[in-house]
Symmetry: C2
Subunit: 676 residues, 2 copies
């Protein structure tokens, strides 16, 4: 493996995604999610709880103007900390207070990030104008010292950075940076970027190894990777150093969060456990197990990978690899879902992957994609891209309805709607997607991921284009001063035939690195020159490029029955159906009630069927199996009765892509089916 390959994602300005599959998702984000989200940020959605996001920026801006008028450093507000989520006592007269979750500012940042990405793929002056006005509102709230978090601007700056553990201040900072960079890269407009730089400089003046500076680190990670992005955008090394400081400071003793919250320190309690949730139980280089809040965890690991890559830090990279392996080998659902328990939205212990109480938050899988791409940037190895693909087509896409209007936070692998309603232990599992969330993290996160999907499909270094995902695209890669024009045609995820047309335009030494997916045992390639070589799951194509070369790839998409490692107790005696990158599930709409009574014939040959789920053309899989037949005599025997080999009838089971479930009303679903 080529360590420190230091490849970069392709700029979205170099690529147009034309892919039938992903373009549709991007259009949903553009036409449904982004406009809806803007209304939500402005509290204009009928029937939804107000976000207060833009309102908070406006209140903070007003206080700012007042401060300038009075010549004060800042206006001292009536000091009223209102806990994690503040709601107006009198909604008619909310007054100049902060409302909503403490991290409400980040809703704007995620939105502007998605807008930026979207504009690269679909220029939209009207949207851009709205975004520019929003940026004006946000920037007006910035303090003279660069600080920009409305919770503390409104409630009182004297408490700034006093509750890093719980108050998401550095999380909002990180998202602001991410959004600002994205918007700048998309539009070239730097007003928000400059604001982010000033905020970053302020943060840098407060935190660091120097004497007198705060030794804390974010309670919810993201600033680590955001600062690296700011470094890569501005070239200012201090941002990379601040990121490294946050990474290295984490988990050192004495625990910063204990110093910050002495009231949480109980005598005799094992300290480390208390810090699992924040991944702050050990210095990150010593961490070998993915623990705690899953989104926080993968955001941290993403930042660690970024820092490792740019500082060529072998120890930090080794920690990233161990954590990656721990997730993928012991803590990941077949769908790419992570975070098995709703208690703390967290990783559970190794091999504990319950299907019906799964948490598997959409955002956590998105974070896993962030982590995967950063590992690919260090060293291109298909095992990262395989997981990225798995998460994207399954556990992430399941977070959004086919119409782009409803969302899952939680992505279970088995659902009985009656149980979700009646069993408080499953209260987090929803049998139908929800309109929006008070704590709206997943929909905006989906929006920013999907609208930037091209930067996950392709990375590059000086002479090589890495194709991680076979996504129809038109792109340009610069190499040796020449523009190589590339066109990828694919019908993924339904068909494994791929054509890549290359116009090298005289570029010398240009290479293509084509991922060989783990779900096919063989492949065919044409037009790859004489000696394409395989390495770490990629086919490297280096040849004398003509005027236009076409490389044809064929990845057979066979239906595969898969099983889990026997240590996964919940899946013992069960199998799942996959085809290509797609994980399948049974849904009641196709197979009737009581899916647990169905079983699969492990020896039978499945067939592929053209099918439609709510207008979405998909490949379904038909697989012979059985349905346990009710035994009327036995039913009368009550709850427990003598065992008899089950009476069953042969049935044809229809499996649909997991990401399309719950689009046809509330019904049962299951991924893992008993095998006979």
């Amino acid at each position: 493996m080529e360590r420190w390959a230091n490849t970069a994602p392709l700029s979205l300005r170099q690529i147009q995604v034309t892919d039938t599959f992903w373009k549709k998702e991007m259009e949903l984000v553009r036409t449904e999610v982004i406009p809806y989200q803007w209304e939500a940020l402005n509290d204009r959605v009928e029937g939804a709880a107000p976000s207060f996001c833009m309102r908070n920026f406006k209140v903070a801006g007003k206080m700012n103007r007042e401060r300038q008028r009075l010549g004060q450093a800042y206006v001292e507000p009536a000091y009223t900390f209102r806990g994690f989520e503040a709601l107006p006592e009198d909604p008619e007269n909310p007054g100049d207070h902060f409302y909503g979750f403490v991290f409400q500012d980040s809703d704007f940042s995620k939105w502007i990030e998605a807008v930026g990405y979207s504009l690269t793929q679909h220029p939209d002056p009207a949207l851009e104008a709205v975004a520019d006005q929003a940026i004006d509102v946000v920037c007006a709230a910035q303090q003279p010292d660069g600080y920009l978090d409305t919770y503390y601007i409104i409630n009182g700056r004297d408490k700034t950075f006093s509750n890093l553990r719980d108050h998401h201040e550095l999380y909002c900072f990180g998202h602001l940076v991410e959004g600002a960079v994205a918007y700048y890269q998309a539009t070239g407009k730097d007003k928000l970027l400059q604001a982010a730089v000033r905020f970053a400089d302020y943060v840098g003046s407060c935190f660091g190894p120097e004497e007198g500076k705060c030794k804390g680190y974010p309670g919810h990670e993201i600033a680590e990777m955001a600062l690296v992005r700011l470094y890569e955008t501005t070239g200012e090394k201090k941002y990379l150093e601040l990121s490294r400081f946050f990474v290295d400071q984490r988990g050192t003793r004495p625990y910063y969060f204990d110093l910050e919250h002495p009231e949480s320190v109980k005598k005799g309690e094992e300290n480390a456990l208390r810090h699992f949730y924040h991944q702050a139980h050990l210095p990150v280089r010593q961490q070998e197990e993915a623990v705690g809040h899953a989104v926080r965890a993968v955001y941290l690991y993403s930042g660690m990978a970024d820092v490792a890559r740019l500082t060529e830090d072998a120890g930090l990279y080794a920690a990233c690899q161990k954590l990656w392996d721990n997730i993928v080998e012991k803590k990941m659902y077949l769908t790419g879902g992570i975070g098995a328990t709703h208690m703390g939205e967290a990783f559970s212990f190794a091999y504990d992957l319950p299907n019906d109480t799964a948490y598997a938050e959409t955002c956590a899988s998105i974070g896993l994609v962030f982590f995967a791409r950063r590992m690919l940037q260090i060293a291109p190895d298909a095992r990262y891209a395989n997981v990225m693909e798995r998460a994207l087509y399954n556990g992430i896409l399941s977070g959004m309805a086919l119409d782009g209007r409803n969302f899952f936070y939680v992505n279970p692998l088995e659902v009985e709607p009656a149980a979700c309603r009646q069993d408080a232990r499953k209260a987090h599992v929803k049998p139908v997607r929800q309109k929006w969330f008070g704590c709206a993290c997943c929909p905006p996160n989906l929006a920013r991921l999907i609208s930037s999907i091209g930067s996950y499909a392709f990375t590059e270094n000086e002479d090589t284009l890495f194709v991680h995902l076979y996504m129809g695209s038109v792109l340009t890669k610069k190499t040796g001063g020449k523009d190589v024009d590339i066109c990828v045609e694919s019908a993924f995820p339904w068909n494994g035939e791929v054509r890549i047309r290359v116009r090298a335009n005289g570029a010398k030494g240009f290479k293509l690195a084509l991922r060989l997916p783990d779900w096919c045992d063989s492949y065919a390639v044409e037009g790859a020159g004489e000696n394409p070589c395989e390495k770490d799951g990629y086919l490297y194509v280096q040849k004398e490029w003509g005027e236009e070369d076409t490389i044809s790839l064929s990845f057979p998409m066979e239906v595969k029955l898969v099983e889990a490692a026997p240590r996964v107790r919940e899946d013992i005696g069960r199998i799942a159906v996959t085809r290509g990158p797609i994980v399948y599930c049974l849904e009641e709409a196709d197979n009737g009630k009581d899916l647990h009574l169905l079983s699969l014939d492990g020896a039978a040959a499945p067939a592929v069927e053209d099918f439609c789920v709510c207008g979405e053309p998909v490949k379904a899989v038909l697989c012979p199996g059985y349905r346990r037949v009710a035994d009327e005599a036995a039913e009368k025997e009550g709850l427990y009765r003598p065992y008899r080999p089950a009476r069953k009838e042969a049935v044809m089971l229809r499996f649909i892509p997991y990401y399309t479930w719950a689009n046809r009303g509330e019904n049962e679903m299951q991924v893992w089916t008993r095998v006979e």
Copy 2:
């Protein structure tokens, strides 16, 4: 079915239990539990959290004496309500405050009840003297008006009966009555009974249908059945009427608990749901589904059955039958465990019987036995006794270690110790029994049940002795002025041969009603006269009795493989092993780690083996099965890999009685095993 049979449990003074199996349990209670409990009540257990129980009575008594000295109605204390559980701020100087759970008084009442029962089987003057002194302490705390709950005596009588929902005042009252009646019936001493009567009269002066009286009812039921017992002991009908008032008042609108707790009433919330926990969502006659806190529920249903029997109330009886059927047909574990969810220690929805997160509180199964016997008293039908037997030998006895020194609250049907330690969702499931509990409900409840087990084995009416449980015993039944002497010999639960010797002593018309267990398909009987007849699961023997008659019964105890109704999702594809009344389980100690990798050959013939668990001679069951064999090549393929039919090796599985599990150190256990 003979409704309103109105049979009574045999007085413990008429019976000596000689049974090898149960006598051992009773001796454990006598020699281990009762002495330990007395130390606990007096805060003398090294390392255990103090109970404060007897201390509270002493503090209340001291305040009482002070009151008399000053001629006041009662001493007004520093009014310091300290919530549900109060602990001293300074343990060295606790002062004259109430400490412990609000229901701490009931610890004494349960203890004195167990002591009473135990004295009938094993006279012990030293224990009786200790009990008499304890009674003196308790009675000294009683107020002039009869009130006797130390929480309010110490904290201030002005709040008496102001929080029926949460503060267990009528629960403590109920337990006091139960204990007082038991001790009186055992010893003939009525000091505590008189105190209970005065307390009951005080409660009766406060609650009732009359104008000006409180229309509330207990937040935790038990007073209902306790008052019936007081009625049956004293003949005072007012206690039956008060019980009926509590039963009928429950769940009427407006909800009493809403009037008491207006702060709990949220606008727009469905009211009934809020009252499920207390079974106060509907008038009890309209209740058809067992819901809410399982112990509360079965205590209520027991009281309902008592009232129905004594008032020959067909509507109330019909409700009892519906609730019984709902539990037994939809909400009961194979072990007789009830209350499937730890959230509210409550019944879950129909057929939701998860094995590894089961709650199945020991006390709830004990309450189910209370309910069962009361249903038997109304109409002898073996279906009640079958469940009683199932709960006693399995889900209840599992609550106590074989050495009588450690206890389970929660009785899961599947345990992986690592999961219990690492998964907060299973925090309630303990892989080893605990020494004692701060909230010590189960051990004292076990003590009072086991030491009175004879009154569950046998009930009687004028001319008939009902044998519900085949328990070695020597007993006397009065009929027509004659004493019929009966001796039951049995080696239950290991051997189904029973001999019953009867000396009728000239009694005319004496009948035996012998339960025909549901676990055997046939039986043999000798010496039952010419025309024994079967009715509702009992064999009625009426014959010309000679000087000494011997009836021999033979109930074949075959190993049976049982399955659950297919609607129990957790048990689909799995079977359990039973023999006679005993439910079996696999334990790691006998079968190695990873019990989920084992499967049972559903067609193979099991064998019975004499076995020993920590000195306890039992019958184990050996059953051919398989262990899935690790596939080293597959292990390297990671978490998910192509399905292959499992490689497995033939193994002999050893099943031990469920009640003996967790006596050989922490290890895995499972009741339901996959079948192949």
